[in-house]
């Protein structure tokens, strides 16, 4: 179980309200569809942000992370299979930190044939400074597109470059998850405040979840996974005992009497113990609030709605986010703006529509997107636990936050950027990367016009001379 921070979250919420007349309510998951935030909301303090360029020239950057080792280095993940270091002064090291395109005489380790494939993410072990371990998540070429999570170890004598030789010497495969289709991998990885590795795992593809992966308990697809990677070298990982289905599937004697109904309900033969939460479609990017331990998951939606889920730090896991029965507050398949069907599992904290918000609807001119990418949780610039997301299609940045009594979703900027991912820097600043790699646009992971690394700053804290992303007036 993750650290418990609910109390501090509610104190924060109360603090936000100050002496206002509204009574502060502890932050909670919406119970009814009307409590789910939608575009047009207002975050406390109406924060103003600017998107400031840090460095540019990356080939399809789709991930970013800080090692949190005091060096201030930012690691930008290029889809083709390279990780580049951006130093504190904004300069990019010429030699990649890791290069998976050259670690085999037969060619690249990374499958990039479809734009959703590639090297997606890097996550540094919480004790990286001591053990040098970092983890990568990618689509494997040798394994025909399977999703690999592997651990590499830095040579202390060469902190900025993990040579091919050293990479091959230290690599440890943590997971090899088969992938039937070339889309909806998920791919993001993060260490939680509990030290476990969380993996956003998509429903494995096609559309409409034809494998019923989101709801099935016997597959890793369509889940948020949670594993312990602090294991001996000959053990890839272990399942934390407090995962919701950790003990749900074990050989046991059949017992028909003497067990409570609750006890029976906890037996799930075939369930994968790695699962932490389920009913997800394509949770590519998710982020913990470093201040509270809460978890936000940006779950990319299908044709009409994007979903932002929130879990308090006190969660014991097991949340069902409803896919493929629901998308946000609506049904799947969606039939209209107020279609009626049972809400399966828990509701998102916020959602926003596509340009066509339901089949046959009039096209929206504002407030829409098509693919939500989590950037990070901001605790600065007047923002308190605000989850920033960037849309891959509309370039909009939305903030999801609690106003003391309910969730709010506020559009903070519309940029010309195609956001792919984000993360927080060592000092808590939210970073973002953008590519120029939309589906048909994709000329190949190393051939698309380059993307850039940005940071989200309060609008009144933009350094003189800094390049700021174009935003709609």
């Amino acid at each position: 179980m993750r650290m418990r921070f609910l109390m501090s979250a509610s104190i924060l919420a109360a603090g936000l309200l100050g002496t206002g007349s509204v009574t502060a309510v502890a932050q909670e998951v919406p119970k009814t569809p009307d409590q789910v935030a939608r575009p047009g909301g207002k975050l406390p303090g109406d924060p103003k942000i600017a998107v400031v360029k840090v460095a540019e020239g990356f080939l399809d950057p789709v991930g970013v992370a800080s090692a949190r080792d005091g060096t201030g280095r930012i690691f930008v993940v290029e889809r083709q299979g390279k990780i580049k270091i951006v130093n504190k002064d904004g300069k990019i090291n010429e030699k990649p930190f890791l290069d998976l395109t050259k670690n085999s005489p037969l060619g690249s380790e990374v499958q990039t044939g479809f734009v959703e494939q590639g090297l997606w993410a890097v996550a540094f072990h919480p004790k990286f400074k001591e053990n040098g371990h970092f983890f990568v998540s990618y689509a494997s070429l040798p394994f025909n597109g399977a999703h690999i999570i592997a651990r590499y170890t830095v040579d202390p004598a060469s902190p900025d470059v993990v040579s091919v030789e050293h990479a091959n010497k230290t690599v440890k495969v943590i997971m090899n998850i088969p992938q039937p289709y070339y889309n909806h991998y998920g791919g993001g990885i993060q260490f939680g405040p509990d030290g476990n590795l969380y993996i956003g795992k998509g429903d494995a593809g096609w559309e409409g979840d034809p494998l019923d992966a989101g709801q099935r308990k016997d597959v890793l697809w369509g889940k948020m996974l949670r594993i312990n990677v602090d294991t001996p070298d000959d053990v890839a990982y272990t399942i934390p005992k407090d995962n919701p289905w950790a003990g749900a599937y074990q050989d046991r004697m059949m017992t028909l009497f003497g067990i409570t109904e609750k006890g029976f309900s906890q037996i799930h033969m075939g369930a994968r113990g790695e699962s932490w939460a389920y009913g997800l479609r394509n949770p590519y990017a998710f982020h913990f609030n470093a201040k509270t331990g809460d978890l936000f998951i940006a779950d990319v939606g299908q044709n009409h709605l994007e979903e932002i889920n929130w879990q308090p730090a006190s969660s014991k896991g097991g949340e069902n986010y409803g896919w493929k029965h629901n998308m946000g507050t609506n049904c799947h398949p969606m039939t209209g703006p107020d279609d009626k069907c049972p809400i399966v599992g828990v509701l998102p904290a916020a959602q926003y529509p596509h340009q066509e918000p339901y089949p046959g609807a009039e096209k929206l001119k504002d407030g829409w997107g098509c693919s939500v990418q989590g950037l990070g949780v901001a605790n600065y610039g007047g923002m308190n636990g605000v989850f920033l997301t960037g849309d891959w299609c509309s370039g909009r940045i939305f903030g999801t936050g609690w106003d003391g009594s309910k969730w709010q979703l506020q559009e903070l900027a519309q940029t010309a950027l195609q956001f792919t991912a984000g993360n927080t820097d060592e000092d808590g600043t939210v970073l973002a990367v953008n590519c120029n790699c939309f589906y048909l646009d994709d000329k190949g992971a190393a051939a698309n016009p380059p993307g850039a690394l940005w940071k989200i700053l309060p609008a009144d804290k933009v350094p003189a001379g800094a390049e700021v992303a174009k935003t709609k007036k």
């Binding site: 340009q355 009039e362 096209k363 001119k365 997107g369 098509c370 849309d391 891959w392 299609c393 509309s394 370039g395 909009r396 519309q414 940029t415 010309a416 950027l417 195609q418 956001f419 120029n436 939309f438 589906y439 048909l440 646009d441 000329k443 016009p449 174009k470 935003t471 709609k472 007036k473």
Partner: protein, 173 residues
């Protein structure tokens, strides 16, 4: 980026842009003065009479030719009056169809009715200028937001953009 001529043109466009906020009469007079001054001071090449601006923030567009691009007579004429000389031209439409299939149809679909990208054949315009050839040119050339990227950056020339615009018009029934 760009040589001296380009920088001069940018300056002129900015002057024109600043003028656009003024009242019509004052604006015309001030514009003429500004342009005369700019031309006299720099002995600039032929001025771009149409003001091309970015769809998102109205900043002036960089219309420098991309590598190997020739600024054709059609483009020169379009820059002058905003009228696409390829509209209705059968040969240009055929070329535009190929450009459309290579670059546009995956998002806007083969008949332009829209899919992941908006419809190109209805009367809904998210960007107010997108119902004009100049507005379409601006968006295709330099992108708008998110997934609508700059196609100039992807190697599509300004002449090709005019041809694809002509083709998109032909999709409207």
């Amino acid at each position: 980026m760009g040589g001296r001529a380009f920088r001069l043109r940018r300056a002129e466009v900015s002057i024109k842009h600043a003028m656009s906020a003024m009242l019509p009469k004052t604006r015309t007079k001030a514009l003429l003065t500004a342009l005369t001054l700019a031309a006299a001071a720099a002995a600039a090449p032929a001025l771009a009479d149409v003001e091309f601006r970015h769809a998102l923030d109205d900043s002036a567009l960089d219309l420098s030719p991309i590598k190997g691009e020739e600024i054709t007579d059609a483009v020169k004429s379009f820059r002058k009056d905003g009228v696409n000389p390829y509209n209705g031209n059968a040969e240009a439409l055929a070329a535009g169809k190929t450009i459309y299939e290579d670059n546009c149809q995956a998002c806007h679909l083969d008949d332009g009715r829209g899919g992941m990208g908006p419809s190109l054949i209805d009367n809904v315009f998210v960007n107010a200028r997108a119902n004009t050839d100049v507005g379409m040119f601006e968006i295709i050339h330099s992108g708008a937001s998110g997934a609508m990227r700059s196609f100039s950056q992807r190697g599509v020339t300004q002449d090709q953009i005019l041809k694809v615009i002509a083709y998109i018009h032909s999709l409207k029934k």
